[in-house]
Amino acid sequence: MLTLQLGVVLLLIRSYRIEQDFGLLQLLPVVFAGFVVHTWAPPRARLPLFLGVSLAAFVVILSPLQAMALVGLGLGLIAICHLPVSFGTRVGLLLLAGAGLAAIRAELVLLPWKTIPTLVLPVLGALFMFRLIVYMYDLRHEKQPATVWQRLSYFFLLPNVCFLLFPVVDYKTFRRSYYDSDATAIYRKGIHWMFRGVVHLLMYRLVYHHLVIPPHAVGDLADVVRYTTSFWLLYMRISGQFHMAIGMLCLFGFNLPETNHLYYLTSSFTDLWRRTNIYWKDFMQKVFYYPMYTRLKGLGTMVAVLLATAAIFLVTWLLHSYQWFWLRGDFPLRTIDAAFWGFIGFGVVVSVWLEMRRGKSRRLGRPAFSLARATSRSFKTLAMFATMSILWSFWSSSSVREWLDVFSRAAAGPPRQLVLLVLATLALAALGVGAQYAESAGWPKWMPRLSLARARVPAAVAALGLLVVAQPGVQGRLWGPVGAVAASFGHIGPNEADEERETLGYYEDLLDTQQEARPGYDRPEDWVTLEETDAVLKTNDLPGVELLPDYVGSFKRKTLRTNRWGLRDREYDREKPAGTYRVAVLGGSHAMGSGVENEEIFENLIEAELNRLRALAPFDSVEFLNFSMAGFSVLQSMHVLDTKAVEFQPDMVLCVIHVNEDIMVRRALRAAVGQGRDLGYQWLEDIVALSGARSGMSTTKLEQRIEPYLLEVMEGAMRAIAETSRRRGIVPVALYVPLTREDIERSATRRESILRMAGRAGLIPLSVHEAYVGHPPSALMVAEWDAHPSALAHRLIADQAVSVILGARSSLGFADMETVSIPDNADKEPNR
């Protein structure tokens, strides 16, 4: 029966692809097989067997060689702990070994095996960075020596290989809890906690996809509440992972305690500290707090307690950076982290001071209900939730200014929002009082203290329900909102805010020098933005930058060469040669060819192919002049057309756009307005004046002001391009190109909307969104840290663009030209 229950939970994890990026799905067969064999094994064989399962997990998730390196390094560290020398010497040797490993992790010492610092050491860090401290602490006071299997099992815990942010398991508790009660009850608890972990992680997805909004989208009080609470609710991911990890260990007899306990219902800072990440609290208390207190107690109990309490938050801050170092390779000491832990520490110190002075009544059993106490606790809980939401949003902000800007929007919005907020607070407080009454009365039986045995039936029903909902085709048959929620459970991609952030970082940061490098991209040092090269000249007009003429240099390890007109292209005369059909290409980094050679850019390939086909006969030749530049959107393209491209007498303007064109327009306008540059267009000046955006404002505030007018600006720029073109007899075309990581089914609505806008504005919309079909993103990207199109991707765009351009020849005015043999799909109407 237990095996069946575990099977259902693992199936749920698989169906919803829970934490698949961490390798959890690969771990499932190991856990399942390990559990089945383990339960049948004789008790003496169980610890070695658990160790074997853990090692198998390391091999599955890493590779046999990496697993060997991991185990070898780990055994070395454990051996140091047991050297026949004094305790102090062993600690010194461990520090030395740690420093050596840190030098490798920071890549100060380079090893021939490149995966050691980036793949093996993060896992080694997760296994040893805190556990060694606890181990050495307990080793000093160990009454009964542990067996070698106990010691090894403590370090090589199988969930660690997936969950690097693993809770700090206490060594004594780990040993004491091993099969300390009925085995079946422990296994059942493990399955139940794993299921609880699944629920937390699905709830996290719901919040992530439906509640989180980017800072610039915060418009009023309701948005501020949504913005702040969503950050604190995202903590469910951590608690979900912890439940999953500890649940897994329970399956092998380690009856470990809960890691997080109803942390959204804490009523004070001390309560929060005791119920959120309980293992961390225990670790800090044992290794830092009590030793510090005993050293300071000569100053008096109150002073010693307050100093020790304050000190553990300082240590917590530093240890978070220490943890970050082992997992990510650098040691950030951010002011915002210090401020966050400082706030929490201050809150806990004040709570402790009050508790020390006034005392706190405790009860051995369930307390009797008191309306006054229940009401007070309800409001305190709500206040604590609000405080943590605010603090967590502060911690998650990119800057204090951005965070303050978000809060400045709270005054906006109709007064009824404030009334609603007050009413919701009162309703929640009343609900809290009711729940406390129910708890004290023991009614209803299953609600307040949901015992494992009692929870079995509802949990089983919920698990099976979730399993059914995960099946293909079921979600579409569900009632609208329920279907949407069910769909969010299965959605593993980035949410709108993150997708947007990803796209922003994905483009060179040409226009805003204050933008920080994004985390998660391990770019080589020479992989700089275009702005960081000497190929760029700053200007005070709408684009703000242009390429230097006759430049030859390196950009993203490729040669960047410009012609005498400052175009990344071969030389062309300003005067169009007789018998030549000329196309002016406008756009951003895709069209400029970030990360590829000049000759590999799709516009050059299209030019060559059309000339090879003599596709535009009776014209003798076709010329594609590339006016694009990394970071440009239709807004800058409009300016480039008016000030530069028209002088080259193009017959066609090919404006290259993509799914996140609106984001690029927002950035462009934000930078131009923020830097007080000359916008150069009256209609644009008027919109900006109407929005209230002006130079000197923070990035977030500028974006908030611009946001309501964004689409108007974008369509205005497209219209201006179309009108300029038509006035001069130029054919205006918008060519949609896909992003290398774009899911074209998911982006269909956005793509169609952008193409419709282009059509409304007077551009002829063409699309090559299917160019990458059948090719994995890894082959389409210039590097794993840079998603710009590779040479292959440019070739694919060019191939499809030739087909699409020739297929649309009637719309483009080539219909009266000679018919040529053209590639597949070319006879289609414009691919919109």
Partner: protein, 91 residues
């Protein structure tokens, strides 16, 4: 009455007065779990240790401030007794 019983009685009196004023004295037995059940948190534990050190003239080490040594009134008394013995250590 043995020394141990006397200490247990005094400790229970202190616990009831300081931390469990609303509790029925009968519900606190020699073996009532206090630390591992969460009744005594870190602040209460520090207060208890300060009281023991002051009352019995003993000194407890940091690692003894745990459920292993101070979980029940009986364990508290045992720890105090061991500490009172000449050369008594907590392990």
């Amino acid at each position: 009455m043995s020394d141990r019983e006397r200490i247990v009685g005094e400790v229970k009196g202190y616990l009831l007065e300081e931390f469990l004023p609303e509790e029925d004295p009968g519900s606190l037995t020699d073996d009532t779990s206090l630390v591992s059940s969460g009744v005594l948190d870190s602040i209460a534990l520090v207060k208890l240790v300060a009281h023991l050190e002051e009352t019995y003239g003993v000194e407890l080490e940091a690692h003894e401030m745990s459920a292993d040594y101070l979980d029940t009134p009986a364990m508290i008394a045992e720890t105090v007794e061991q500490r009172k013995e000449p050369g008594g250590g907590g392990g």
